[in-house]
Assembly symmetry: D2
Homo-oligomer: 253 residues x 4
């Protein structure tokens, strides 16, 4: 069980982490924070340092974005989570972010894992989209071995031959992790599917299977989002999703 | 919506199909039928013609097994489903079975698809573990094109690099099928995971995601099962599973 | 070592099997047969019964096509190979074809494997595009167990996440088969790549790795081919390929 | 075409890069360097900073190992290549190594790619074992965009469902890269197969398909190797391999 301010991850209730894929402006993140808070989300997410396949894509606002995210979290009483990509950025990100995220592409970036293992912040370790569950747990071990026991796992889809979804959500991973580890596991249906239409159904499945929570991307205007628009939920869809998952019986593992 | 005797597939309530992987004896199938009926299962499954990777593995009881399954279904008022592997067996299997199953390895056995398309029985078309969703729907089209509109899809896991489970349950397929087709879709967590421990959690996820039902393997003594013992549920586990899924809010699509 | 008329498969020299994806007309197959023979190909291929993903695609000329293929083989002194999809077609196909092909989608069609195991013709067993090497050898065992020891394996690419090629040619399979089996193995770079541009390079790799031969699709006018045009070699490209592979040192395993 | 001292990569002749998986001692690397040089290898490889799945595995000798490798390269007139894992190590590694290697797990470690893009050393960018060819070229673009045009690609196998080999060598990638890029591409059959038995055949295929060269692991006593022993070639096998590939006709692309 991991506690961040007033929020408990891995406890008797599932948590919802929501926010934009990327922090795009101060106004954007304040607006989204207020909205997701009003719907019952407990943690605010937002990318500042963005790992992009192409060097010519929007790379995030960096430290400036982190300040906006920090401000939004303070204002609406939401712990914040953001990704850190480079060992040299860890200290500054750990200063402002309540939870540090290691992205899928960095799941086996061992110098980075060691570095975040020296901080006192909880670390959300996303599964590499090419990583077996055992490799994922070995990567968690890098963080644990440095003395940081606050590791949260996040399943976000694996790469398969199927192309109807961007990745294939490996929902069985939740059951396997419950058997092999005591770490809490979150599901990210946004990256798993890459398509907002499928997210409400997958979110319900995530709660039913016993995940410790979900992380979803929300944007007031997905079409104008600077990254991953097709997988962002519009406000009304997110609100409905929050209502629906509230009714699903949840069993803590 | 497909009706088989008193059972509706694709209606406002999810259905549960249960039974042994293989029909092993008259006593075995009668015993299992009585038990799953008492727990609320609506359809009885049992393999008679078994597709086995090796020619030296148990190949099923064939027609004899089908007679036992038929008797058990009649006795306990359960429609029965069994797999048919060869075009020349279709007529006799269609005489006794209420639903004909096309197995994963035969999803693109086109002569077989055409032949079952000429029967008046509902067909459960399992997804090939190597097939995209679009290929699966094209295979359904082979049956539909022959005039049989009663096709039930069954997601049973796809092959990926992950080896913690026998296959990877592609739960997103339910959402994709809801978008692309009007055919009902069932989830088979037994073959998807290959491990009875994971089945209760996956069954709950299947109901929450909106599948039209689940199909699970049940055996009084999995260790002595002639095939797929590791994925068979013991009686108490199945009973608990039935109780748990009853509480999950279900939305028909 | 398998002998078909004057051709030896698995001997000191690699063999080349060439011809159209599908037999489209008498003229077409006679024309192609003459051309590939003039370039040094030893066996003529041509599809008569075509397994197509969609029921609305061209399904082949069937028995009529087989007669054309048979005539072309006789006229140009080339043994012929064609696919058989249904147990009930096996006898008639075995009457006319020198080698029977089991296609990728039927690698685990066990009734079909058993049936071809009763013929006296060599069987080319293509690897399922999602089958492990061990499953492939188990399928070969179905044919061998029925008394037909003349099994030729054919690697034709496996399904992976990479989409630059239609499938991923698993060239290592040749080395693995050499270690685990005495059966000869052929490589089909046409289906593996799905793109004629890559075939000449892959054909050279196939000879160098020690495959017993290659099978390639050739068409005088790929753009008007009724199936798989993008992977068919035009005449000049095939001629150059035949010249190039002649210079590669070959080691029989 | 990339030149490193007297060696040309991407020229009319394929190059051979050989050496131990990990530098284990001064004596070990001097011994191996002398041997591979005597067989005709042109570049010496050796891991100093080792990315290991588990934090409890041997992590390499680090800078000490790099000094040994550097000494061996100087003594036997072989340019050296070694992996760099962390942006902060790039400067010191670039001081001693002639070529910097980005490992498979770091193919999308964008801060690292940007950093090596600022050096004046050639960079060997290994393909992520779950990366598409287009993602791989996008990662190369990160290096090129920083002003370093000396990028060498290295195909080392992709992750698939097949387990007979550690990874699946995607030999078609060479043909695809020849079509889509002007960068030279090397094949690493050691990591692709994970089994020394298959390496000689795959090395021949690599030359025949037109790769700019191969990179293989060599160890005098694989059983006592500190990492990846099962894929290391013993001295006699490497010598035979060098003789065999010399006879394969090579076409520069």
């Amino acid at each position: 069980v991991i506690s961040v301010q007033q929020v408990t991850i891995g406890g008797p209730l599932p948590v919802v982490i929501a926010g934009p894929c990327a922090v795009e402006s101060r106004e954007q993140v304040l607006n989204i924070a207020q909205f997701v808070k009003s719907c019952g989300a407990q943690i605010l997410r937002g990318g500042c340092f963005k790992p992009r396949t192409s060097p010519y894509s929007f790379q995030g606002l960096g430290l400036e974005g982190l300040h906006y995210l920090h401000e939004a979290g303070k204002k609406f009483d939401l712990p914040i989570i953001t990704e850190v990509m480079s060992p040299e950025d860890v200290d500054v990100v750990a200063e402002y972010a309540d939870i540090l995220q290691i992205g899928s592409r960095n799941m086996q970036n061992f110098p980075l894992l060691k570095k975040v293992g020296t901080t006192r912040r909880p670390i959300m370790l996303k599964r590499g989209f090419m990583a077996t569950i055992d490799e994922w747990l070995s990567s968690a071990e890098y963080i644990l071995a440095m003395g940081n026991s606050q590791v949260i796992l996040c399943e976000r889809g694996i790469r398969t031959f199927e192309s109807a979804t961007r990745n294939t959500l490996d929902i069985s991973a939740v059951a396997v992790i419950h058997e092999r580890s005591h770490l809490p596991i979150i599901i990210d249906p946004s990256h798993a599917s890459g398509n907002w239409r499928y997210i409400p159904q997958l979110a319900k499945a995530a709660i039913a299977v016993g995940a410790a929570g979900i992380m979803v991307e929300v944007h007031p205007s997905p079409k104008s989002a600077l990254s991953d628009g097709p997988q962002a939920l519009k406000y009304p869809t997110f609100r409905t999703l929050m209502e629906n998952i509230a009714g699903i019986p949840y069993v803590m593992h």
